[in-house]
């Protein structure tokens, strides 16, 4: 009995794929006494799928909208965020420096979303990258004279990261040769300034506010040892 059932299932499977043999089993399925609509599973499945996709879209859009950039809200919220915590106290004290840093940072903000947005915006983003790169080198030199060294380095570290991500997500990174060249330029820049490796936004980063304030040099040395340039 089980053998014939298996065989009929196997032939049902073959008929599923090839649509040649009889599709149904030997005994016809009785449709007597159905309480719900015949296609209730089909309808329920598609409705559930549509709800799921729309719900996912709304959740994602809500995530982008509720993050309205008010500085004071950001400070209180971000102190609870472990990922990127090394940026927390830096942004907190930077109300007065915002105008100085905002232009290169603004231009680089698109880089994370280059991955997501279409290629139409990439053309604009690429142009902005060129402007940002020249602006960044000027800005970095200006920051060198800044007394708050970790803050300045971290901001340019953010620029470094964004430039990396811009390249990684953008068109030119796909060209391996050109990507190598840019990474090498960054390596020179990095080793020159001893910039810590802020790229890994994973929450394994153990840098806290205290670490950054009290032991900046140790962290910088440790991170520069681990950095990309030393491996080459």
């Amino acid at each position: 009995m089980s053998d014939s059932h298996n065989r009929s299932q196997a032939s049902a499977r073959r008929s599923d794929y090839v649509w040649q043999y009889e599709y149904y089993d030997e005994e016809p399925v009785s449709f007597e006494g159905l309480r719900a609509h015949r296609y209730s599973i089909v309808i329920g499945f598609w409705v559930g799928l549509a709800v799921f996709v729309i719900f996912m879209f709304f959740v994602l859009t809500l995530l982008t909208k509720t993050g309205a950039p008010h500085q004071e809200n950001q400070d209180s919220a971000e102190k609870h965020h472990r990922p990127g915590s090394c940026l927390v106290d830096i942004d907190g004290h930077q109300d007065e420096n915002d105008k100085a840093f905002s232009r290169p940072l603004l231009a680089g903000s698109r880089s994370y979303f280059n991955f997501f947005i279409s290629e139409d915006d990439q053309g604009q983003a690429k142009q902005k990258t060129e402007d940002k790169r020249t602006g960044k080198h000027n800005g970095a030199r200006a920051q060198q004279g800044n007394s708050d060294r970790p803050r300045g380095i971290s901001s340019s570290g953010v620029d470094e990261m964004e430039e990396d991500i811009e390249e990684a997500g953008g068109c030119q990174h796909l060209n391996g040769l050109i990507g190598e060249g840019k990474i090498d330029r960054e390596c020179a820049f990095l080793s020159h300034f001893n910039i810590p490796n802020f790229v890994s936004l994973d929450h394994n980063s153990t840098l806290g506010e205290d670490d950054l304030l009290y032991e900046p040099s140790a962290i910088l040395e440790r991170q520069s040892r681990d950095s990309h340039c030393d491996v080459h």
Partner: protein, 275 residues
């Protein structure tokens, strides 16, 4: 041949016309073949990310080729041009089934590889060239292809066991979960960072959300119906509700094939293959 003696059930099988299958198959074959050839011939595109996209397109090519071949064989067999023997037919069915299974499992693995590669690109950008070398990419791709080949043969040989079906469905659910999690995680961390530098515009975030929804949405919409079909076939073959769902089998297969059609648009052309 036995259909005429069958009682007509209340949920007759929905037939999709053969030209639809042929059109979708041929168009997706051409598209994916174009992607594969463009990536192989263009030296600038020999980066890990494009290798994974090329592998995805190769699996889709195999899937569309096999599906188109099967449709043609069925058409010729129905018309009477082909001579069928019991032996050759079952062997041919097995070959076609295992090729299809291999390409489906392979495209899942390629999706996962692309998502992991993007994750490393974004969050380990400075060390990306150390983590993802071309040699490692080659090893990963070789492993993927060998695993898919072996899995496909095993799946088809032991299809009648319930364990096989359960493994297949569980594999699909796990890949879906990993894909959604990885992309949502990348999106959220990118959002947090962009918010910190106080420059996220609503349109960019909205576009990011839309792209992410399209990516995971099309994957789910195209693959879930077929897998639910497999589950229903195993769990409730005699239930009338289940039978009404099963009668839509060809529609679900069309959805799967259209995913091979949409894939190049989402993954490859989205990055505008640069020359």
């Amino acid at each position: 041949m036995n259909a005429t003696s069958k009682n007509q059930s209340d949920c007759p099988e929905v037939h999709v016309p053969i030209p639809v299958f042929l059109t979708i198959g041929v168009v997706s074959l051409i598209e994916n073949l174009l992607v594969v050839v463009a990536i192989i011939r263009n030296r600038n595109l020999h980066s890990p990310m494009y290798c994974f996209i090329c592998s995805l397109a190769a699996f889709n090519t195999i899937a569309s080729l096999t599906k188109t071949w099967e449709t043609l064989m069925i058409t010729f067999a129905n018309v009477g041009q082909l001579e069928k023997t019991e032996f050759s037919e079952s062997n041919l069915n097995d070959v076609i089934d295992s090729l299809l299974c291999m390409s489906f499992v392979g495209s899942f693995f390629s999706f996962l590889a692309i998502a992991v590669d993007r994750y490393i690109t974004i969050f380990y950008a400075l060390r990306y060239h150390n983590i993802m070398t071309m040699r490692r990419t080659g090893v990963i791709l070789g492993l993927i292809w060998i695993t898919c080949g072996v899995l496909a043969v095993l799946f088809v040989k032991f299809f009648y066991l319930k364990v096989t079906m359960i493994c297949f469905v569980v594999f699909f659910i796990i890949s879906l979960a990993i894909l959604c999690f990885l992309y949502t995680y990348m999106f959220m961390l990118a959002l947090i960072h962009a918010r910190k530098i106080a420059s996220l515009t609503a349109s960019e975030g909205g576009k990011g959300a839309l792209t992410l929804t399209i990516l995971s949405g099309t994957f789910t919409v195209c693959w879930a119906p077929f897998f639910l079909h497999l589950v229903i076939m195993t769990v409730c073959p005699m239930n009338p509700y289940c039978e009404c769902y099963r009668s839509l089998f060809e529609v679900h297969v069309v959805l799967m094939m259209s995913h091979a059609l949409i894939d190049p648009a989402i993954y490859a052309f989205h990055w505008k293959l640069c020359s």
